[in-house]
């Protein structure tokens, strides 16, 4: 196991360097001069030149990248020229909101998807199975922003059970906090459960045909014990991989959902930075999210290896 972790960690370094390079290049090569953005279109060329010099924008690009990377490695992601807040402060302030949202969504998604997958796998080919598989397929065609509109209309406009937008910190009012998060989390979960169900269902069907399941049945074990103890773990390998892939979708969905429901999370920080052309925040958040995404996938890989010994011994 330590060898496996070391190998994966070694692979992480070039990927992270490449991610930082790409983030930097997007911000540096594409049009949109930071100095003009700060000073406005009316700025005199002299002023712009002076600011460019102060900010080091007149240096060669490789030098700018290295000095930027140097600062980033020391934890200095830059400072918003609009609010004066550092990127790290802004991210730290908003990260808990995004995490809470994504964890809630994932819990709902698993709570709906896993039981449905098991129920479908046990009676594969039945009317129930076909209905649920069809529903899941249809749900995969519902974009997050579409589900959000539908949920807002249903629960906030028509029934008036839940608030449409807004946020209260958990420390101030735990119950109110949850009330504001239900609809956003539900929106994300609506996109999550079909994937979870589909993948787990097909793996489970394959597992249930294995000899050791027949043996467990022959031994007279209870059906629930066979399903949850013997069949669930070997069936969840693909699910774990797909979960890693889905994190990207979850982050993308969170951006949209946070914007729609006015939740002060990372996604809204990013979209807000785009609206106000706050390029420093934008660059910092993109790097932060991409690096976080790479690390999450790394963790998923490790978890995968824990579940399946063949992977960490390199027999896969």
């Amino acid at each position: 196991m330590p060898g496996f972790v070391a190998r994966r960690l070694l692979y992480l370094v070039p990927v992270l360097v490449a991610v930082s390079l790409l983030t930097f290049l997007i911000a540096s090569l594409l049009p949109g001069d930071l100095a003009y953005v700060i000073l406005g279109d009316q700025a005199t060329p002299e002023k712009v030149a002076a600011l460019r010099h102060d900010m080091g924008l007149d240096q060669p690009i490789w030098w700018r990248y290295l000095s930027w990377l140097g600062h980033v490695l020391q934890g200095d992601f830059g400072r918003s020229f609009r609010t004066g807040q550092t990127v790290l402060q802004a991210v730290a302030e908003r990260l808990p909101v995004s995490f809470e949202l994504m964890i809630m969504a994932e819990i709902i998604g698993v709570a709906v998807g896993v039981p449905l997958a098991i129920a479908c796998a046990v009676r594969s080919g039945s009317a129930f199975d076909r209905f649920m598989t069809g529903t899941a397929f249809g749900m995969l065609s519902v974009p997050a922003f579409l589900a959000a509109i539908l949920l807002i209309y249903l629960f906030a406009v028509e029934l008036r059970w839940l608030p449409a937008t807004g946020y209260i910190p958990f420390e101030e009012d735990p119950l109110g906090n949850l009330r504001f998060l239900v609809l956003p989390a539900l929106t994300l979960a609506l996109a999550e459960w079909p994937g979870i169900m589909r993948v787990l269902r097909s793996d489970m069907i394959a597992t249930l045909q294995e000899d050791y399941i027949a043996l467990a049945k022959a031994k007279g074990l209870k059906a629930s014990r066979i399903l949850f103890v013997h069949a669930l773990k070997p069936s969840s390998l693909t699910l774990v991989t797909v979960t890693g892939i889905n994190i990207g979708r979850l982050i993308g969905g969170a951006v949209i959902v946070e914007t729609i429901f006015a939740l002060p999370g990372i996604g809204r920080l990013l979209v807000g930075a785009i609206y106000t052309r706050d390029l420093v925040i934008l660059q910092g958040v993109v790097l932060f999210v991409a690096a976080g995404f790479v690390l999450m996938n790394f963790i998923v890989d490790l978890f995968y290896a824990v579940l399946d010994p063949r992977i960490r011994h390199g027999h896969a």
């Binding site: 070039p14 990927v15 490449a18 991610v19 790409l22 983030t23 997007i26 911000a27 594409l30 049009p31 949109g32 594969s124 080919g125 598989t133 397929f137 249809g138 995969l140 065609s141 519902v142 974009p143 997050a144 922003f145 579409l146 509109i149 539908l150 807002i152 209309y153 406009v157 996109a191 589909r198 993948v199 269902r201 097909s202 793996d203 069907i205 394959a206 693909t238 991989t241 797909v242 892939i245 994190i247 990207g248 979708r249 982050i251 993308g252 969905g253 951006v255 949209i256 914007t259 729609i260 990013l270 979209v271 785009i274 052309r277 934008l282 993109v286 999210v289 991409a290 995404f293 790479v294």
Partner: protein
């Protein structure tokens, strides 16, 4: 699902057991809907409505003989905007995956056939592109490049390259070891000949099935960006921006959000259905079962 990553579960997802190998009525319904949307996008311009003319006295009007689907919050004809949105969705939705299938497909076939350093380089650089959550990358690049239909198409196209590369490479890896390729090599066929005459015709089918799924994903991502006001620049309408605008009047006129929403859902579902059916039909593993 607002990402371009659908293809990744391609390698792991097993087609539901018991799926019929003959396309069912749903498949043909999806084809019919596609035909309808394509026809509306192609000939809708002939209808005597303008998608941008505002009629401030007729705001959020109910459907009538003058405005078949009513008007939106600025008194613009809803049907005309819907048709213009169909055009945008289809143009972006079809052109972006064309970029993906061309570049990604070529890289994938070459990587799967030649292997070695080239393959490592291709797979490695695609991993870097995949290291970004797609929507984040799309948002960041549009923020710098500026909003236009061309920019949007190019970005979404580039984002699709890794997925197409993976599909093409996976298919090529298995095909390159097959007898007909070895036979061609033994007969002294050149690399270009093997790539174009032996491998490409076999790889193109799974790639095309995946292309349709890519169209669905692209339409969704374009919709999400336009919904946020960061996609197609106004006053051009897109289904996403119409849903975004309709959201403002959800209490007064929910249909302004729901009409484009249902249209988009049906279109995305149709592409998914057709793509998935073709994938199941062309999946070689199915034949082995």
């Amino acid at each position: 699902m607002a990402t371009l990553e659908l293809g990744l579960d391609d390698e792991v997802a097993v087609a539901p057991i018991g799926r019929k190998r003959q396309p069912g009525p749903l498949f043909w319904a999806a084809i019919a809907w596609m035909g309808f949307v394509f026809a509306a996008a192609a000939f809708g311009g002939l209808l005597p409505f303008s998608p941008t003319d505002m009629d401030m006295l007729e705001r959020r009007a109910m459907p009538s003989a003058l405005h078949w689907l009513g008007t939106d919050g600025l008194g613009r004809d809803e049907l005309a905007r819907l048709i213009q949105g169909a055009r945008i969705s289809l143009i972006v939705g079809l052109c972006a995956p064309v970029i993906g299938i061309t570049i990604g497909g070529a890289l994938g076939i070459l990587a799967g056939y030649f292997r070695g350093r080239f393959e490592t380089l291709v797979v490695g650089s695609m991993d870097v592109l995949l290291a970004f959550p797609p929507l984040i990358l799309a948002l960041a690049v549009t923020a710098y490049l500026g909003q236009s239909i061309l920019n949007l198409t190019c970005i979404l196209g580039v984002l699709g390259i890794p997925a197409f590369m993976r599909v093409a490479r996976a298919a090529t890896l298995t095909l390159a070891r097959r007898e007909f390729v070895i036979a061609a090599q033994a007969l002294g066929a050149t690399h270009p000949r093997i790539l174009l005459r032996e491998l490409l015709p076999n790889v193109i089918l799974p790639l095309f099935a995946f292309f349709l799924l890519g169209v669905a994903v692209t339409i969704v991502v374009e919709g999400a960006l336009s919904f946020l006001g960061l996609g197609v620049p106004p006053p051009v309408s897109s289904w996403g921006s119409m849903i975004g605008e309709g959201r403002e009047s959800l209490e007064m006129a929910p249909r302004l959000a729901f009409i484009p929403a249902v249209t988009m859902f049906l279109t995305v579902l149709s592409f998914n259905l057709i793509g998935d059916t073709l994938r199941a039909l062309t999946d070689p593993r199915q034949g082995a079962l």
